[in-house]
Amino acid sequence: MNVTVISDMLASMIRIATPLMLMALGGLLCQRAGVFNIALEGFSLMGAFAAIAFVQVSGGNVWLGLLGAALVGAIYSAVFALFVTRFKADNIIASIAMNMLATGLTSYLLRALFDVQGRIAPDKINKISNISIPVLKDIPILNCLSGQSIVTYFAMIMVAVVYIVLFKTRTGLNICAVGESVDAAMTAGVKPAVVRWKVILTSGAFCGLAGAYLSTITVSQFSEDMVQGRGFNAFTAMVFGNAHPVFTALVTLLFGLADAIGIRIELSGLNLSPSIIKMFPFVLAIVALAISSYTGKLKTRGVIGAKRKRREVNG
């Protein structure tokens, strides 16, 4: 196993993890504010579609696609925000609705706007070139960090930004407060609804961008159902990462690694069915979920509990 192989695999890991990271950051912010948002999948799907739509309409401009996708993601998430805050809809049911609606809408719009079924590749697409970082690209192994797309670097920067905002600013404190105790937040003058709108819209934008990455950078087309469960993997990564931006990002890298290894195995011609290989990330996700529940890391309503020894409860 020589160095280039490792470096290639790590680079692959980063590429695969990029959309997960963005989605997970969005989910993390929502979780911290007490919003159980598993509509990441639907938000991303809308973004993926919007990106290709904008690319097609603009004659190949991927930048427009990325920005448009973030915008569309945010607007779409506003519906979720409305129902979850104003109408007090159950988070899980509303999430399911948003995911369902996204699948239906994208499928519908594919027919209605472009008169195709199943998938669409834009007539022209000016792919964004990857960014090569001068010194880094020559360091063995670490050069996996160079040559990635701008979205990837954006995602990494966002990890740092989310960290700072969450733990060092008033906004972040307000977010954590709302997630911990809505009553305490209200008596301190914080408006929970406003805070939740903000995190949901942010998650919408992040997920939109993640979807755009999938449809314009990973590949160059939109196909129905192309998010393929990544939204749920991202959510799990967030749970395992304790809703902490840095840990969550690391977990998404782990998931990316699993996927990357799977692809290598498939390509290496080992006699393992590709379907089984595709299961890797999901199995890993379930194991991660189980482990984090066992150590009592993240309770699903946004409270991060202390590590505890289990006591036997009857029944």
Binding site: I38, V79, F83, F87, K88, A89, D90, I92, I93, A94, I96, A97, M98, M100, L101, T103, G104, L105, S107, Y108, L110, R111, A112, Q117, Q228, G229, F232, N233, F235, T236, V239, S273, S275, I276, K278, M279, F282, V283, A285, I286, L289, A290, S293, Y294, G296, T300, V313, N314, G315
Partner: protein, 358 residues
């Protein structure tokens, strides 16, 4: 008993009226949506009406799996458990049913064969549902996420099966499907509705509904499910075992999901293949929500959604309106049901206020 029945019927009527209003609102919104995108606005409404009159066969065909999916959901919902894994459990049931059907002796009596196949499917579905159930009960793992992840695993597993061990190698080219099931394992279609694939799965669904309703209203398990869903600490304090109850509801739910897989494979597809499940599991959520998680209501809700789905398919076939609009309608329905709109909010405020004055 009479008083209780009266109250139940009154409540049911109340809720029915409300749900019908919601359906109408959703349909209006969807029709507007269709009109705006340049399609005939009334297409979906026509499709539904069609499905309840001239093309009732299609409705019956789709209603069966939808009713069962709705039942699978409402069983767990009462216990405040979210089984979003019906799709995965359905696939596992289909796989098990197919595997068993393919090894049964050809000459075996049809009824017996079918019973065995269905049992295998139900057991497989129940076992697959035990994975998230055990995780939840012993590790406190949130079942929403675990069931969703398992769905993907199940789909991939089926892909693996029909591209590998269970692939049909009898035909010249390699199909991505299992061999055709022997005829003695074909669930009978309803001859009245032929050539539609409407089958006796519908009757099976109604029977399951009766069983579930009986379970809820007349058995101790039903009472325990209700109490565990309402307040698990109370249940424990009163001597019940919430953990056991959760396992039980998940097993029942998984078994029903497996049954759906068995019906689709034995009555409609006559073989195992990928993608035969148009997300019945998620549709089941809408079916159950619309029925207010009441098993009897689920039948009516299932029939409605059956006609909706059928209408959508016909619509696409005949008029070029994309059938995806049915999913949009369903999503609108979910969202409008789950939103606690003004009226209920006022009521809640009134109740809170009555307690006030401290």
């Amino acid at each position: 008993m009479n008083k209780l029945m009266h109250k139940r019927i009154a409540d049911a009527l109340n809720i029915t009226v409300r749900q019908v209003c919601l359906i109408l609102v959703s349909l209006v919104l969807a029709s507007i949506f269709l009109g705006v995108s340049g399609y005939e606005p009334l297409a979906i409404v026509k499709g539904i009406i069609n499905g309840l009159s001239s093309d009732i066969a299609g409705t019956v065909r789709w209603a069966a799996p939808l009713i069962l999916a709705g039942l699978a959901i409402c069983v767990t919902y009462k216990a405040e458990v979210f089984n979003l894994g019906v799709d995965g459990q359905l696939y596992m049931g289909a796989a098990a049913g197919t595997a068993v059907a393919l090894v049964l002796p050809e000459g075996l009596n049809k009824a017996v064969s079918l019973v065995i196949v269905f049992l295998a499917a139900m057991i497989a579905g129940a076992l697959f549902a035990m994975i998230p159930a055990l995780l939840k009960v012993y590790l406190d793992t949130n079942e929403v996420v675990s069931t969703l992840l398992l769905n993907f695993i199940a789909v991939l597993f089926i892909e693996y099966l029909v591209n590998g061990p269970m692939m049909d190698r009898t035909a010249g080219t390699n199909l991505n499907a299992s061999e055709v099931l022997p005829e003695n394992t074909w669930l009978p279609r309803i001859s009245f509705f032929e050539p539609s694939s409407a089958n006796i799965g519908f009757y099976i669904a109604v029977v399951v509904m009766i069983v579930i309703a009986f379970l809820f209203y007349k058995t101790t398990l039903g009472h325990e499910i209700k109490m565990v869903g309402s307040n698990p600490v109370l249940a424990r304090y009163a001597g019940m075992k919430p953990k056991k109850t959760i396992l039980q509801v998940m097993a029942i739910s998984g078994a029903i999901a497996g049954m759906i897989g068995a019906i689709e494979v034995t009555a409609v597809q006559h073989r195992l293949l990928t993608g035969f499940n148009p997300d019945f599991g998620f549709d089941g959520i809408v079916v159950s929500l619309l029925a207010n998680n009441n098993p009897i209501g689920v039948v009516f809700s299932g029939i409605f959604f059956g006609s909706l789905k059928n209408g959508g398919i016909n619509m696409e076939r005949l008029t070029d309106v994309p059938s995806a609009v049915t999913e949009i309608v369903m999503a609108i329905i979910i969202v409008t049901i789950s939103a606690k709109f003004v009226l209920p909010r006022l009521k809640a405020r009134a109740a809170k206020v009555k307690k006030g004055g401290e």
